[in-house]
Assembly symmetry: D2
Homo-oligomer: 304 residues x 4
């Protein structure tokens, strides 16, 4: 079948390739003419036969919203838009309603796979009507990993359920990564264990903790055995925050996922105002030594 | 080669079978005569030719200590004892020194694999001298999973390093399980996602969170889609506690692993004394409603 | 001066009394005619001379919004509305803009003091223009505790700053209460300390942890030494949630405040879905014993 | 009465003064002859009439142990040793048994008060036999704060209970400080609140969060309104660690106290190995940008 694909960046570029390998025709559109198959959204739409399926793979927020809006003016009743970006699940209802006015369908699709997706396939979590899911199924089958469909694809529920599932997936991911990271740091710090990369490598088969993330950690340690080529500075891309917010909204305790999120916030701080407050308090009540800010701060000086 | 194997419980029984399948001769000893190959430790030792390798697979603590002690009186210089149980790494130095007096070697070996080990093999993390590791290598090769040796076996360092590595492995395991569990609870609680088992199943291929634990969660959900056949009551077996203690001893922050441990403690409390204190405080300062203990406690009653 | 006071519940009733004791005239309005000084909002307004100050002390959210809206139709340019309820700080800009269209001023005021405020005074954190703060200062002085003004009153910043400050105050309060509560539980659990109430009482003077909350804990223990007259079931009223959300929005790590919030969520769960997932996983990989749900669940049964 | 006081450092020096002000005779001993009243422990003992009370106020661990040992050889049956240092509660049984062999009594006494104790008095938590408590009561009364005895003194239980109580006190203290610190950071970070020191000052009277620690925070902000004269680097002195260990030993969840402890560990790390592992993982699966270590690390560079 035909697919219109908007956004040919790190993700979209590879996804176009994977869909084409499965034998489908993809008309891509990107602002960057070097990768684009069409000159404009309108041009892309004109090259597709109705009923069309257009996959949107652009940054979440304003850009996705503007793209959906523009598509609502270009597409015809019976067409279908799939948002595969990292949109917040609360955006999906807005997009769906906007398109429904023109009798255009909408699906939200959480996509996991990163730079490995071209070869391994992309896991897909979809929200929306069953008829729309059916309409796009050949594309889903092209993108998802080989193997049983239900091991890499789910129709999670109504509009929003796809991005919600992906959000939770990423929240879990934060917790998993932090768990491995804490274990790594303890092994790194103790002098009981001599060969940390060998130990972590040995966890790849037969253990309870074996996973794809563990395999990636082994890969990272192969080229950088103490992981000291990079700094412990970690961004976060939104889904972890939304997961904790949703935990709060639903009174679900998320001690591990929130701790992993906060560890990222901390990793980006040169100096912690909170810990300055603790240091100030200790100095007030106990005359404990504090580390003064400024050029000689490394030395530490004892006060009162 | 020959192996003496002490302890033929849930783990040892299957390990004997796996070593035998690899073509080695195993003389097992267990208090339970129905599974034992020998009448006593002494009988087991007498059936092995020197230099002997004896694998101890009994509960950590007193029983392991007593077994090692008894073996120190039965074995000969050049023999080797491997403790494959869940001993605390600080016990290993004691065992090694005790055996060294008799010129008997000692290795500590962390074993991961559980009830799946017979088929999948057991991941092994070993501490001790390289010569001793060499001596027992045929047994390690029999027990470890198929595939490259370094993906299921590591010589982690000196005596204690094997159990230390296993301890950290289990600490990580706590964090991983809690991360999946929190995500499950959020999916379970929200009404945005309709088909939670399908979503979790779809994470098995292509995603960042795919792992053996995830596969097991899918299995569990197959037979009990809301996981309501069992209670949220979770024991802990020691290694998680030791991991957090070691974090504290080494000033390594372990927010995720400790949160996972504390969640288990909480799961076993009928009622939390800490939360009674919080309720009492709120009642004192704000006249907030409290839930009284006693027969009508479910109802909740408002006080002044 | 005159004050219009809307809402004469647990808080407003006592605040009216405290303002009157300071010599001001208060015209209160409440839906409950038994406590109200006027028959309607309009009646209340008609009894006040311009420029009027009207203090709103009703539940946050819809009721506050409706009250502010109604007041915007009743008051005159130059009048001033003070929202002293527990509104979210994001509501304040909306209220201020709505009133500004009619040239009516607006202040948001976080109020702390609970049932003790009548005697001790209420701490006040105010957001809005300096001129409006000046206009209401006699009322603030009547409400705030005795002593230096700056120890119980602050002009925190522009509109919203008062409720923001109160929100953070309550977030801190969650953390403080949980810290005392955890210490209480540890003392309660250990058999090293025999007389827990005596120990906590001894912290009231000279210690680093002395505080008003500690005094309240001592009071609670006097009438219920093991705090077992009530259950460990704790509600939360919103500000703790907003504090954590704001931490997330501002990338500020809040491990303690969030842990205190999550402990409250946990306290209200009969059974934790997350911990059922952990129990299910342990059962899958290790044949660990689980506690089955149902009538015999208390007994615990071993599987696998 | 007479008191022998060993250790005249930051704490002991002021305690001698406070006991003398109460009319007692104190013979102090310190290695530093400038502050010592006697030439040696033996000299100090010789200047006291039996039955003697000797208060030990030296660093916990080896020095306290050695001092107790030496005193056991110098004192007579019926004499009494009080350890007022920050000893771990598990040391107390050892000290008590050692002294009991010579029929010398032993009390452990947790002391809180810091540099403010001379004027405010020291809160005291004591473990040991009631008869010994009675013997030293005049000294306890001299040291404790003015006011009712039970508000600054407790006989907590048998030997060890005093130091246990002080340990928990300090664990709580960690949590309280971190709660205030998190609130401070959020106020500091947001642009909604303009005058952070004024807000915190306003919490001193009438609020739920008023406390001595809050007063100290106000003091610190008076001289350094953004707390940027010092660094967010915070030591820990042991009791927080022991508290979390005891939580683990007793299966008591301590999410807040442990989070406060871990925040201190983090504050002392230049770079976090755990967060390097998270950064490495993100780089592996997503080609996320990482911050490279080295001279240009501040810039941040995007990879793959």
């Amino acid at each position: 079948m035909q697919l219109g694909l908007v956004g040919l960046g790190k993700m979209g570029f590879n996804m176009r390739e994977r869909v084409r390998r499965a034998g489908h025709e993809v008309i891509g559109y990107d602002r960057n003419p070097e990768v684009s198959d069409s000159e404009s959204l309108a041009d892309m739409v004109s090259k597709l036969e109705a009923p069309r399926v257009v996959w949107v793979m652009v940054p979440a927020g304003d850009i996705t919203r503007d793209t959906v809006k523009e598509l609502s003016g270009l597409l015809s009743p019976g067409d279908l838009v799939v948002d595969g970006g990292n949109s917040k699940f609360t955006d999906d209802r807005v997009h769906a309603d906007l398109l429904a006015e023109k009798e255009i369908g909408y699906l939200d699709c959480g996509v996991s796979g990163g730079v490995w997706g071209l070869e391994n396939g992309y896991a897909l979590m979809v929200g929306g009507d069953a008829a729309h899911v059916e309409q796009a199924m050949p594309i889903f089958d092209a993108l998802r990993p080989d193997g049983p469909r239900e091991e890499g694809f789910a129709h999670a529920g109504k509009v929003g359920a796809g991005h919600y599932s992906k959000m939770v997936h990423n929240g879990i991911e934060y917790g998993l990564m932090q768990a491995y990271a804490e274990g790594f740091e303890l092994l790194d710090k103790t002098d009981v264990v001599d060969n940390v990369p060998a130990v972590i490598s040995a966890w790849q088969r037969g253990t309870v903790v074996r996973s794809w993330l563990l395999d990636l950690l082994v890969r990272a340690l192969e080229s950088d055995p103490e992981l000291d080529d990079l700094r412990g500075y970690v961004e976060d891309s939104g889904e972890g925050r939304w997961t904790v917010e949703e935990g709060i909204n639903n009174a679900v305790p998320l001690p591990v996922i929130s701790a992993a999120l906060f560890a990222r916030f901390q990793s980006r701080q040169e100096d912690s105002p909170a810990m300055r407050a603790v240091a100030a308090l200790r100095n007030q009540f106990g005359g404990h030594s504090v580390h003064l800010a400024g050029p000689s701060s490394g030395a530490g000086s004892t006060q009162g």
